[in-house]
């Protein structure tokens, strides 16, 4: 038997891609998808499925691809995940399904998921209505996953979204070149076709209180995400051209300021940009700044090994000419009106801290300056506090909404999930929360 080879997806060349916001990874062709699917051993006990937070029947959908039954493959995925085009692109598969795969190299399950999402039509099935009505607050991954599950169970769902576009972080946070907004809108539209109504520009906590929603609905799922940007708390942080990553990304992704002045929201284009942080948000910010024509350096206080960003993202950033300075921490931002430079200090790694990673410690006398015209602070986000200010929900240390294993909050009929409950995590974890919460809500409603 001929051995099938791992199929690599095509990518735009680094030279080409830094000139545009077009998607970098081009996905599989039909032939590639079939070849890759044929590599799957169809294990009697598919371990990959244990690695999928959404519980997709991976073995089954891959078999359909190998048999060229793409519509059936998509149907299998949609039973567990309403956002396959999103997940196929942004899931850290190497830490999940692919990690459990026994093939060497592992089957590119995420790329197969993406292939069927992009190339097959999502069929909407009719379900019997239960007459129950649920409000979902926030249309990010947790909110969309929860609402689609609930709709498939026959419940009436209204999603309240504060911004003018659905998708939450998928829309305002993750850049176009990594997750095209057309994909997000298409999947949101599919969820609408399931019967979910998405009410935009509706700020819960302002336009409607949770109490008001409770009067009109049988349950509420709060999924307002990690929308509060953290700042460094150092001198000069409010100088002009110091952005939170959230602001920089929102301007570019939601408001399309990279197309300024065609789109009229402005964003600064600096000759030199320094991005502070080591997560995916830092990498996304750096790659956006690069595409706006900037020379970009990422500074991170620990070493490469501790970076929380996905390897693939780091690799893409390096290919695009983004520089990394590890074991470097900012101490002061310098400038008059606009940023002119950032003073940094070298760090060394000490004993492991609470996160299990070695704690970075400053090296005395090692301060130095980096000249730059723009700084993007990407050191993490906290839970959005807007809702918490208007209702008396129990919260955790960092202000996240406290939930039990059933995603129930301290108020009856009010559930919460995704980053607002767990802190800052991944898209797929949020989807998992949304799905499980939907199941819990459904069971509770059935019990009455």
């Amino acid at each position: 038997m001929m051995e099938n080879k791992e199929q690599k997806q095509k990518e735009m060349s680094p030279e080409e891609r830094i000139k545009s916001f077009k998607e970098v990874s081009l996905g599989y062709t039909k032939e590639q998808a079939i070849e890759e699917a044929k590599r799957c051993l169809q294990c009697p006990v598919p371990l990959c499925e244990k690695g999928c937070p959404a519980g997709i029947l991976i073995k089954k959908f891959i078999k359909h691809i190998a048999d060229e039954e793409f519509d059936l493959a998509l149907k299998v995925i949609l039973e567990k995940n309403s956002l396959p085009g999103v997940c196929g692109r942004v899931c850290p598969a190497e830490e999940q399904c692919k990690k459990k795969c026994i093939c060497k190299p592992a089957i590119n399950i995420n790329l197969l998921e993406r292939f069927v999402a992009d190339n097959s039509e999502k069929i909407v099935k009719n379900v019997k209505k239960t007459g129950k009505k649920i409000a979902v607050v926030g249309s990010g991954p947790a909110g969309l996953a929860c609402s689609s599950e609930l709709a498939l169970m026959g419940h009436e769902v209204v999603v309240y979204e504060a911004l003018h576009k659905p998708g939450g972080v998928l829309t305002y946070g993750i850049p176009e070149f990594r997750l095209p907004k057309k994909i997000v809108m298409d999947e949101a539209n599919y969820i609408k076709k399931l019967g979910v109504s998405i009410k935009l520009n509706s700020v819960v906590g302002k336009l409607f209180s949770v109490d008001e929603l409770l009067k009109k609905h049988d349950a509420i799922f709060i999924a307002t995400g990690a929308g509060l940007p953290y700042f460094l708390g150092i001198n000069g942080e409010n100088l002009n051209n110091v952005y939170s990553a959230n602001e920089f990304l929102t301007r570019n992704n939601l408001m399309k300021s990279y197309k300024f002045p065609e789109y009229i929201t402005p964003v600064k284009r600096a000759e030199k940009t320094v991005v502070i942080g080591g997560g995916n948000v830092a990498i996304d910010s750096a790659r956006v700044a690069k595409r706006l024509g900037s020379d970009v350096t990422i500074i991170y206080r620990r070493s490469r090994a501790e970076m929380p960003a996905r390897d693939e993202e780091v690799k893409h950033a390096e290919e695009e000419g983004i520089k990394f300075m590890f074991l470097t921490n900012p101490v002061k931002i310098i400038g008059k009106e606009d940023v002119e430079a950032v003073r940094c200090i070298r760090m060394k790694l000490g004993e492991p801290d609470d996160s299990g990673r070695r704690r970075p410690l400053p090296v005395e006398g090692s301060e130095f300056m980096i000249k730059c015209g723009q700084i993007i602070v990407a050191i993490g986000q906290g839970p959005n506090p807007l809702i918490g200010k208007t209702i008396d929900l129990n919260t955790g240390k960092k202000g996240n909404i406290a939930v039990n294993e059933k995603y129930e909050t301290s108020i009856e009929k009010v559930y919460a999930g995704g980053d607002i409950a767990s802190g800052s995590a991944t898209v797929i974890n949020a989807i998992h929360d949304g799905k499980v919460a939907a199941k819990e809500i459904d069971e509770k409603l059935k019990r009455g």
């Binding site: 700020v203 002009n240 959230n246 301007r251 408001m255 002045p261 600064k268 959005n384 506090p385």
Partner: protein, 271 residues
Amino acid sequence: MHKIKEKKVLAEKTIMMKIVAPEIAKKARAGNFVILRIDEKGERIPLTIADHDLETITIIFLVVGRTTEDLSKLNKGNNILDIAGPLGNPIEYEKYGTVVFVGGGLGIAAIYPQLKALKKDNKVISIIGARKKELLFLIDEIKQFSDRVIVCTDDGSFGRKGFVTEALRDLINKEKIDRVVAIGPPVMMKAVSDVTRDKKIKTIVSINTIMVDGIGMCGSCRVRVNNEIKFACVDGPEFDAHQVDWDEFLKRNLRYKEEEHECMLTKNDGK
């Protein structure tokens, strides 16, 4: 989509619109603002809710840049794509005694709902001002809810000649004032803050920063108050004037001056 029910030019470059938005109107309180986006390529800008009834909210804006110019071209019957609100914290309603409202330029529109709300329990003195007569508006409405109104113009073309701050200084030298609310151009609010600081009169300003989402997500509107970073959109927009870092605020508010200019140029090129 929100329909424009009424449009009126109140003064030079100053336009009032009543917009159909019943859900927002129902919740609107004095001090709240909305974020609106005219069309698909538009930016999100914050505007104070100047008034509301059961069906509509009233906004008043000065044509100063690209978005306000585009907005000024819309007429009765046209639609605005997105409006989110009511945002920000409403003002505190209390019995203070004598409250002086200082409204400069477009700030006149922002003090109106506030003095209307506070009139019942307080003595209200309003000082309103603009560069010249042609830029003044809402005088009759403000008179209706004030015990006394002092109108100033920089050039003396109407009312008292000079800045609102001078009128305020004269007033507080003569009378006991319990609270001052000042809304207008940042330099005016800073000047008012300086006038009342020595007299230790509690002074509230409404900070008109550059915003994007308006719901506490981006920090574009951050301002230093009592040496802490506050987000004007969710922690404000009203702050104690004597605690605001004015120099930093003034600098931050000019950060897109060049882009604003570029945006107007491309528009005028007909692109």
